[in-house]
Symmetry: C2
């Protein structure tokens, strides 16, 4: 969509699939550019514009600097300040058209696009080499069009990066001109008829004067292309990253793309040869989002989320097989399970095989069995299987059965164990995966794990069956006397404590439903009935926690907690996307439970409780820390499951959230944790793609 | 030597040979640590100290920070400020003993040493695998001794890095404990009995409480070792870098060490197994410098130069053979030839085979043939062979026959061609190499190149033999109408212009002498005589330029130049180290020339001309830009060739230069270009090892 003029300055990630790289730009006057394996924007400059005679006009995609790199070499002949010599286009002179798979910056006579193509990611076990190679290519594109059809003198189109390190220039005239940098792991190239440009700072850029070589020094480099008066010309640029060899430790794996490409040059060249396919795919995505009946703020949020998601993806090869990893934004933790379960809805559309891949990695390497304790007592009882919070961080994989995040001995504080939550997450993901794929062989292979999950769920309820109420009452022995937390680790008790938590209880209900469904699919009739009984018990307990005095269900069923939380309803998403329509039918077997949750939502969704003054959603009444991904998810549940119509207010909510991203996370692209509209944690984050659900409403 | 208490805070590089890496520390309150392929200190923290109960005392090897990384995860529970909780030792509490191959920091009960062992580097073609592997191992060591023999409670010795990125911890109890980071390219390990430590900030470091895992997150990590009361214990640490696969572009090469080690873990472990050998070798170097009759400032300058030299070295493998490269400090240009010729004296002691290696690379890949022009005229005449300024930069090798530095069309300014100077440099290096090695097969193989060099020298003098005067009068056609410069590229004309330059003329005389000697060794009697005649012509011309009115020889023989320069005498070093004693004998064939240069030196070496008020040497009377490497070289020539005795003033000169490094280049270890005692260019530089000549006086 075309953005309003005052909302055009913010960073967006533009990322290839599975390369953990991003060409990030869009915020005016800020650093950006191409980076590999970095949880934040590149620290470089991107120069896009035109040169007429000696006058250089560029878009504002760099941080203004007053000193030139050349002073390090030649201190006696320091040039005029470097960026002062450039004419920088102002916000008013640039129109930004932000789309699902592209991003357009349009000024008079200049159209600059960045294209990060995506679509259904083929399962590599099911397709031929041509398709797999195309899918794995770690590349995005830029396209610069300079329209000089009305002009009277030649304009030179200019594209360059600065502050990205000294490059290796490659020149195969008329065919391939490019620059490799960052240990040869990053680069860009064009197939257009250009002259290469390299200089200490862009203000010194000039067209070659016939001397045989451009300088091979200086940190600003790129391409110049003459556009004669009366003509309009386009320069297509491939931008890619390529890390060769073993890219990880702990579990040693190369990137998947290394099986198709032997180096970066090959990637850049292949991308240029096949650019039309990528452009077509991106145009399809753009058209889909355009055509959806959502409002512009919603479209923005979906596009913005998707842009940031791919920057976190990382596709490895493990012993000849694909290994899928999504990094946790700025934290770069691997396959953080409480993100996986939220990104599930997106991945079920574009790459169901990666959902399976991650679930299986959790089984084979990142599951464990524990014992449990009742709070306040030392005695332990049988626990069961669960899964780790993550699989490591920063390309370092943690040992079998351990995350990099969870620490023993912490009582319900950030970095404690999330044993119960991750168990629920595995079950819910598997339930959705099976419902949507009918992948019988998966279920057959992992039926024992599913059974272990059910045992583990009820053991965490209470050691004595007669005392079970369907809700988590025990703590994992891994906590060493401390207590578990939920994914909402940095919030207060209302969402942070796992035990007796409303949010987790409703999600547990969904997990029991999913187990019942999985057992049914596996013809395990008895277990299916038992799991259904557990779901009923859970629903009854939650329903019973309604507090007439408060007028809603308190967030935690102990210690007189009185917090009001929106994510009470979050867990309802799973039966919805599994197609378990009975379960969410107000007239169905859980009708009272559903009705109670709807009443709860309506009660807490009020200004001063769970609504910020700007109409942004506040997840908990007692914490000023609201997560965009979870807001999007609860919005979907409220509308699609509970049938709530926000009427005219809907657009106001969406606009507030759009503004949070644009004004509250300007530098960090799409972020998750907001405090009164300002992103302050979980920056540059993939999780917000949960809002893809809106496109199915 | 033990440094005076107010001169202990400065960075030193501690580097393995040929790995282009450095463990840099020593400056108080500044960032430092381990870095790979970086022209400046690492941006990390080094924590060295002890913990008693919860009290942590550390040396000041980090930049004080008030915010903890943990705030990015858990903004609601931000801890107390991180470094405020540490007790940091003050300058007064630390004694620094800075040596040739080690660096010692001693405080009460703590002795911390960094050992960067070096010695004669074996020629890999001449030795067995064991010796070659040991030589190539890309490792340095740290050794922390905590003496608790007088104590009454356990002290815990502490060594950790911070701000180096998230690591992969490796724990093989009782044998190997280590951390790998930076894409697994950097790491450190110990064989001592320690517990691993990892936390968000060091103030939160604590001994494990029995829980099964340390956290696997947080950017401060290292080792803790209990030292019970009454004991003294030592922890040895290996610190290494390892870059696998192709490390360069343009000319694609892996590091040489990759043929002996398959990954970083192997390097770290091998180093620990063989540590005694490295420690012994370092102790030999330390003892040699200690035993020399030089004053402490001179010893400091030699040690400091050597420390920085190794950080710039880079040993590759090209098609199964070694390829030696020295990077140009902060600029990271490869084998900059005007540095090679100054570092020659150091390399002839420790690695004559690398001198040969570089000279041959210049022949095979980085030589070219040009034509020449007389200044002011367009007509060209035959020129001849010369060599490029460098071979590329930042691991990107430039194309055959081209440097990355030189640009056509610039008239006697920074980045112009250095054709004549590099020709002289190749000849002088070859002369010294041949005189000291008698490597006949080298001369036989390259005799044609030597002959081409002579032709090129005289063609650059003047196209018409009758007009030759032994001095460069022509400009290379590669300048495209501009004029050549010398290595003193950022100085004014006095040292910056090549043509008719006094400094380069004397060096040309040395080149003619070297050619005569090379031809003699090759039984080319006629050519030898001709080259001698050229030397005589050159000497006569230089002698004739004495200006009675000025009282010295002007720096440039044209345009009424009146600058006074010390490096007039620089070129005399070559006959001296080639053993051509006749040539430098005041009674010998060049007696008048030598005497005139001595008179010149004595005339210009005066306060206000070529001496700063602090007694530091000022290379040119007209430029406030004095280069430490060249000062060291001219000092050697003044004393060892011209027989000048600086008497009591010698110590004052040396102390001034030591202070330039300590107070004027505190952060950047050993630097070259100083403006009134402040380093402002050529930082973190290898070239200063030319001062190894002092040890031969």
């Amino acid at each position: 969509m075309i953005l309003p003029p005052h909302k055009t300055s913010f960073h967006a990630q533009h990322s290839a699939i599975g390369a953990h790289s991003s060409f990030t730009l869009g915020m005016h006057g800020a650093p950006g550019g191409l980076a590999l394996e970095k949880g934040s924007p590149a620290n470089g400059a991107v120069y896009v514009g035109t040169m007429v005679d000696d006058k250089i006009t560029v878009m504002p995609f760099f941080e203004h600097m007053n000193n030139s790199e050349i002073a390090r070499f030649d201190h006696q002949n320091q040039p005029e300040t470097c960026h002062d010599a450039l004419t920088v286009l102002s916000s008013e002179e640039i129109t930004r058209d932000y789309r699902f798979a592209s991003d357009h910056f349009i000024s008079e006579g200049i159209h600059f696009e960045v294209i990060s193509s995506f679509g259904p990611l083929p399962d590599p076990s099911q397709n031929n080499n041509t398709i797999n190679k195309r899918a794995a290519c770690p590349c995005v594109f830029a396209r610069l069009t300079v329209d000089n059809s009305q002009g009277s003198q030649t304009k030179t189109a200019l594209f360059a990066l600065g502050e990205h390190g000294c490059p290796m220039p490659i020149q195969e005239p008329g065919h391939f001109t490019g620059f490799l940098f960052g240990n040869g792991d990053l680069g860009f190239a064009t197939d257009a008829d250009v002259y290469p440009l390299q200089c200490f700072d862009l203000s010194k850029a000039k067209k070659p004067d016939g001397t045989p070589l451009v300088p091979r020094f200086g940190g600003s480099y790129g391409f110049m292309m003459d556009v004669p008066a009366g003509e309009c010309k386009t320069m297509d640029i491939s931008l890619a990253t390529y890390r060769s060899g073993k890219a990880t430790l702990g579990l040693e794996m190369p990137y998947w793309y290394t099986r198709y490409f032997s180096d970066l040059h090959e990637v850049l060249e292949y991308a240029l040869h096949n650019k039309e396919w990528y452009f077509d795919q991106a145009a399809q995505r753009d058209a889909e989002l355009d055509a959806s009946p959502l409002n512009d703020s919603q479209k923005f949020l979906i596009a913005h989320a998707s842009h940031s998601y791919y920057g976190s993806t990382q596709w490895f090869e493990e012993s000849g097989k694909p290994f899928w990893n999504v990094n946790e934004g700025e934290y770069r933790m691997h396959n953080t399970f409480d993100l996986t379960v939220d990104m599930l809805f997106y991945e079920m559309i574009y790459s169901p095989w990666t959902v399976k891949n991650v679930l299986e990695t959790f089984i084979t390497r990142y599951s464990y069995y524990d014992r449990v304790r009742l709070p306040g007592y030392n005695k332990t009882y049988p626990g069961g299987i669960s899964f780790t919070h993550d699989m490591g961080n920063h390309n370092n994989f943690s040992p079998k059965g351990y995350s990099s995040y969870e620490i023993s001995g912490i009582d319900r504080r950030c970095f404690s164990y999330m044993t119960h939550e991750q168990l629920v997450n595995w079950i819910c993901c598997t339930g959705v995966y099976m419902s949507q794929t009918k992948d019988e062989s998966f279920l057959t292979r992992h039926l024992n794990t599913v059974k272990d999950c059910y045992t583990s769920m009820i053991n965490r309820d209470h050691p004595y069956p007669s005392k079970r109420n369907g809700v988590m009452n025990c703590e994992s022995s891994r906590c060493h006397g401390g207590g578990e937390i939920t994914t909402y680790d940095s919030l207060d008790t209302s969402l942070g404590q796992a035990r007796n938590n409303l949010y987790l209880a409703v999600k547990s209900w969904a997990a029991y439903l999913a187990l019942a469904e999985l057992f049914k699919q596996a013809d395990e009739t008895t277990l299916s009935k038992e799991a259904t009984a557990s779901a009923k018990l859970c629903a009854a307990t939650v329903t019973s926690k309604w507090d007439d005095e408060l007028g809603y269900i308190p967030a935690v069923f102990e210690n007189d907690n009185q917090s009001a939380i929106i994510p009470a309803i979050e867990g309802l998403v799973f039966p919805k996307v599994m197609g378990l329509n009975d379960a969410i039918d107000p007239e169905g077997p859980y009708g009272e439970f559903i009705a109670t949750l709807k009443r709860h939502f309506e009660a807490v969704f009020r200004p001063g409780i769970c609504l910020y003054p700007d109409k942004g959603w506040k997840l908990s009444s007692t914490a000023d820390n609201s997560w965009m991904s979870k807001i999007c998810l609860s919005q979907y549940v409220a509308r699609a499951v509970l049938g709530i119509d926000f009427g005219d207010e809907q657009a106001a909510h969406d606009e507030a959230h759009m503004d949070w991203q644009i004004f509250g996370s300007t530098f960090n692209a799409c972020s998750d944790q907001f405090s009164s509209g300002k992103a302050m944690a979980s920056l540059y984050y993939p999780r917000i793609v949960t809002n893809i659900l809106w496109m199915s409403e």
